[in-house]
C-alpha cells in the first residue's frame, strides 16, 4: 500500500487550519455574546433567546448549509472552499458556544464579579478578570469545537471544494474514487490518533462551580448586549435566507414534475429513515439503560466514537451487496449505520448524565432486592423516558436531513437529504432549500411522534393494587 503522504499532510494541514480558524471565531464571538446573554433577567425571554441561538446546532446541518447558500446569494457568491467551511461551522456552532459560556459565567463568576463591582473595577477590568477566571473552561470549549470542525464531514462535503477538505472527506474520496479500503482505514486511524492527541490538551480536574449563581444585577456590570444581538441577527438572517430561497425555489419546483416524483418518493424514504433511526436510538438507549448500573459500559460509551463516518459507510457497502436490496432495506441499513454513528453523541449529550443522576436510586432499588426488570420498569424508565424521547426525536430530526452517510450507501435518491445534496452539487440551491425544508418538516413531525408516544403514561391492564386503607396506591 503506497500512502500519498504529500496529499495526506496537505489535507491534515488544511483541516487543522480550518478547525483553528473556525474554533477561534466560534469561541471568541460566542464569548462576547455570552456576556450579553448572562445578565438577562427574565427567564422566559432568556429561554427564548437561548432557543434561537441553539436552533442552528439542533436543526439538521443540511438546513443551515442551504440557508447559508441562500443568504450568500443575496450578496453575490458563497465563498466555497476554506472560508465557506469556516462560515457554516460558525453559523452552526456560535450560538451553542454563547449559551455554554453564558452558563459558565452565571455559575462560576458570582464572587469575582460582585467583589470587583464593590471594589470599583471598570467594565473592561471585570471582563478581563472574568475571561482569566474562565480560561481553563474556555480552553476545553475551544478544543471541543476544534475537534468538531477538524473531523467535520457533511459541511466540507458540500461547501469545501479543494481548499476546504478535511481528513474525513479525504477518506470519502479515497473510497468513492479509488475504492481503496486499506488506505481509507489508515487515514481513519490517523484521524483517530490526531483527535486523541488534540484531546490531551483538555484540562482535567477543573474546580467545581460555585454553589451560588451570580445575581443578574451584578452581571449587568459586564454586559455586552450588542454582540448578543449581532449573533441573534445572524440566526434571523439565516431564516431570511431560507425564506428567500424558498420563494425562488417554489416557482421552479412547481414546474418540474420529474422532481416532484423524486421528492414524493424521497419523502417516504425520509420518513422511514427518521422513524427507524429514532426507533433504533430508543432501543439502544433502552438496552444501555437496562444494563444500568454498569460503570464499565458508561466509560466505554464515553470513550467510544466511530472513527470515521465515511469508513463506516463504505464498510457497510463492502459487507452487503446493496444492488439487489429493495429500497426499504437499504434505508433500514442506512438507519442502522446512522444510529451507530450518532449514539455516542447522544450518550454524551444527555443520556450518560441522566443515568448518572438516577444512579443512587437504581443502587437503592438493587439493594432492596429489585431484579433488573423491576429496576428498569419502575425506577429507571419513569425517570428517564423524557430524556430518551427527546434524544430519539432529535436523532430522527437529524436523520431526516442526512445526506452524507445516506449517499454513500444508497447510490440513488432514496431520501430527501440525498436529493438535496444532488441539487446542491448542481448549483440549484433554491430547489434544494425546498427539499431540505420538506425533509426538516418530516423530521419535526417524527420528533413529536417520539416525544408523544414515548412519554405516554401506560394504564395497567389489571386494576390498581389496593392498599391497606382501601384506596388506590396513587391516592387522591
Amino acid at each position: 500500500m503506497t500512502v500519498p503522504l504529500t496529499e495526506l499532510f496537505l489535507v491534515i494541514g488544511l483541516s487543522a487550519a480550518q478547525a483553528l480558524v473556525s474554533a477561534t471565531i466560534i469561541v471568541a464571538l460566542g464569548l462576547l455574546a455570552a456576556f450579553g446573554l448572562a445578565p438577562i433577567r427574565k427567564s422566559n425571554i432568556k429561554k427564548s433567546i437561548e432557543l434561537i441561538l441553539l436552533a442552528p446546532s439542533l436543526m439538521p446541518t443540511l438546513l443551515t448549509i442551504v440557508a447559508s447558500l441562500d443568504l450568500a446569494s443575496f450578496f453575490g457568491r458563497f465563498p466555497i472552499g476554506f472560508w465557506g467551511v469556516v462560515v457554516v461551522h460558525f453559523f452552526v456552532n456560535a450560538g451553542l458556544a454563547a449559551v455554554s459560556i453564558s452558563q459558565l459565567i452565571e455559575s462560576r463568576l458570582s464572587g469575582i464579579i460582585e467583589l470587583g463591582t464593590i471594589e470599583g473595577a471598570s467594565k473592561f477590568q471585570l471582563i478581563k478578570l472574568s475571561v482569566r477566571e474562565l480560561s481553563e473552561q474556555l480552553r476545553n470549549i475551544f478544543i471541543f469545537f476544534f475537534i468538531l470542525c477538524f473531523a467535520s464531514f457533511s459541511i466540507p462535503l458540500v461547501v469545501g471544494a479543494q481548499t476546504g477538505r478535511t481528513v474525513e472527506t479525504l477518506i470519502y474520496e479515497t473510497l468513492l474514487d479509488h475504492n481503496h479500503f486499506k488506505l481509507a482505514l489508515f487515514y481513519s486511524a490517523i484521524q483517530v490518533a490526531l483527535i486523541g492527541a488534540f484531546s490531551l490538551f483538555r484540562r482535567q480536574n477543573i474546580s467545581a462551580p460555585s454553589l451560588r449563581r451570580a445575581h443578574p444585577r451584578f452581571l449587568d456590570r459586564v454586559s455586552l448586549g450588542p454582540f448578543l444581538w449581532a449573533l441573534i441577527s445572524l440566526s434571523v438572517l439565516l431564516v431570511v435566507g431560507l425564506l428567500g430561497g424558498t420563494a425562488h425555489g417554489l416557482s421552479e419546483f412547481g414546474h418540474n414534475s420529474v422532481l416532484l416524483d423524486r421528492v414524493t418518493q424521497g419523502a417516504l424514504g425520509t420518513f422511514f429513515e427518521a422513524l427507524s433511526v429514532g426507533g433504533l436510538v430508543t432501543i439502544i438507549s433502552c438496552l444501555v439503560v437496562f444494563l444500568t448500573p454498569s460503570p464499565r459500559l458508561h466509560q466505554l460509551l464515553l470513550a467510544f466514537s466511530v472513527p470515521s463516518a465515511a469508513a463506516l459507510g463504505f464498510l457497510l457497502v463492502a459487507i452487503f451487496d446493496l444492488t439487489e436490496w429493495p429500497d426499504f432495506a437499504v434505508v433500514m441499513l442506512i438507519s442502522v449505520g446512522f444510529a451507530i454513528l450518532i449514539f455516542s453523541t447522544i450518550h454524551r449529550m444527555r443520556l450518560g448524565d441522566a443515568l448518572l443522576e438516577i444512579q443512587g436510586s437504581v443502587e437503592s432499588a438493587q439493594i432492596f432486592g429489585a431484579n433488573r426488570w423491576l429496576r428498569f420498569s419502575k425506577i429507571i424508565w419513569p425517570q428517564i423516558k423524557n430524556d430518551i424521547a427527546y434524544l430519539a426525536g432529535l436523532s430522527a430530526l437529524w436523520a431526516s436531513c442526512d445526506f452524507a452517510f445516506a449517499s454513500m450507501l444508497a447510490g440513488r435518491d432514496l431520501t430527501l437529504g440525498v436529493t438535496a445534496h444532488g441539487l446542491l452539487a448542481g448549483y440549484r440551491s433554491e430547489i434544494a432549500t425546498i427539499v431540505a425544508l420538506l425533509a426538516t418538516a418530516i423530521g419535526v413531525v417524527t420528533y413529536f411522534i417520539f416525544r408523544f408516544f414515548l412519554t405516554l403514561e401506560l394504564k395497567p391492564l389489571s386494576p390498581a393494587p389496593q392498599t391497606f386503607s382501601g384506596v388506590s396506591s396513587h391516592g387522591h
Binding site: 432492596f368 429489585a370 419513569p382 393494587p465 392498599t467 391516592g475
Partner: protein, 210 residues
C-alpha cells in the same frame, strides 16, 4: 459476624481492613472523620463496589458470595435516595414487591411501620414534597419493611436540622431495637453514636483503629 479481606485500592486512597469482627445483634457504629473511608466500607459490603477476596460470614452464610439483590440487606443513605417519581407509599411498597413479599403481609407491615414512624399522614404525598424528617422516616420504613438481614445507616441524621436530630435519633433507636435487626451505623457525630450504638469501631485513612 466476621469480615475478612475488605481491601480496595482507589489509587490515592486505600481501604485496608484484613479482619473485622462485629456483634450480630444490636447497633454497632463505625466512626471516623470525613474522608476516612466510612462510606466506601458500606458500599463494598453492600456489593456496590467490587472487592474480590472479601469474606463476610453472617449466621454461617458468606454474604460476599451473594449478588446484591440476594444479600437481603437494607440501607438508609445520607441523602435517603427516595424514588422521587413516586409517593411515600409507593416508595415503601416498592421494597415489598422487590423482596417478593405477598401483598397482605406487605400491607400489614406498612400499616405498622407507618404508625411507628408517624408517617401515616404523608403516605400519599409525592416524595419530592416531603420534609427532611419525613424523608428520613420514609427511607427507614422502606429499609425495614423487607425485614433485612442487616441494616446500614449511613450518616442518617446529617441532613436534618439540629432540633430534629435528637428526636429522630430516639425514634430510630426505638424502631431498630423493636425490629431486632442488626445494624451498622456510620457517623462522625458523637451524639449519634452515644444514643444509638452499643459498640464502636473507629476508622482512619481506610484502616480500623484499635
Amino acid at each position: 459476624m466476621v469480615i475478612k479481606n475488605l481491601i480496595r485500592n482507589y489509587g490515592d486512597f486505600q481501604i485496608d481492613i484484613p479482619f473485622w469482627s462485629l456483634p450480630d445483634h444490636g447497633v454497632s457504629a463505625l466512626s471516623g472523620p470525613s474522608g476516612s473511608g466510612k462510606t466506601s466500607v458500606i458500599r463494598m459490603l453492600l456489593g456496590l463496589e467490587p472487592c474480590p477476596g472479601l469474606v463476610w460470614t453472617f449466621h454461617d452464610l458468606d454474604l460476599a458470595q451473594l449478588s446484591i439483590e440476594k444479600k437481603r440487606l437494607a440501607v438508609v443513605f445520607q441523602n435517603y435516595e427516595l424514588f422521587l417519581h413516586m409517593t411515600a407509599r409507593e416508595n415503601i411498597q416498592f421494597a415489598v414487591s422487590a423482596r417478593g413479599i405477598d401483598k397482605v403481609t406487605g400491607q400489614i407491615r406498612l400499616k405498622n411501620l407507618a404508625q411507628r414512624l408517624q408517617i401515616e399522614s404523608v403516605l400519599d404525598r409525592s416524595a419530592t414534597v416531603l420534609s427532611g424528617g419525613e424523608r428520613q422516616r420514609v427511607a427507614l420504613a422502606r429499609a425495614l419493611i423487607g425485614e433485612p438481614r442487616f441494616l446500614f445507616l449511613d450518616e442518617p441524621f446529617s441532613a436534618l436540622d439540629a432540633h430534629l436530630r435528637s428526636e429522630a435519633r430516639l425514634l430510630v433507636k426505638t424502631v431498630v431495637e423493636e425490629f431486632k435487626i442488626p445494624t451498622l451505623l456510620v457517623s462522625h457525630d458523637a451524639a449519634d453514636i452515644e444514643v444509638l450504638a452499643q459498640s464502636v469501631t473507629k476508622i482512619d485513612k481506610g484502616r480500623l483503629v484499635i
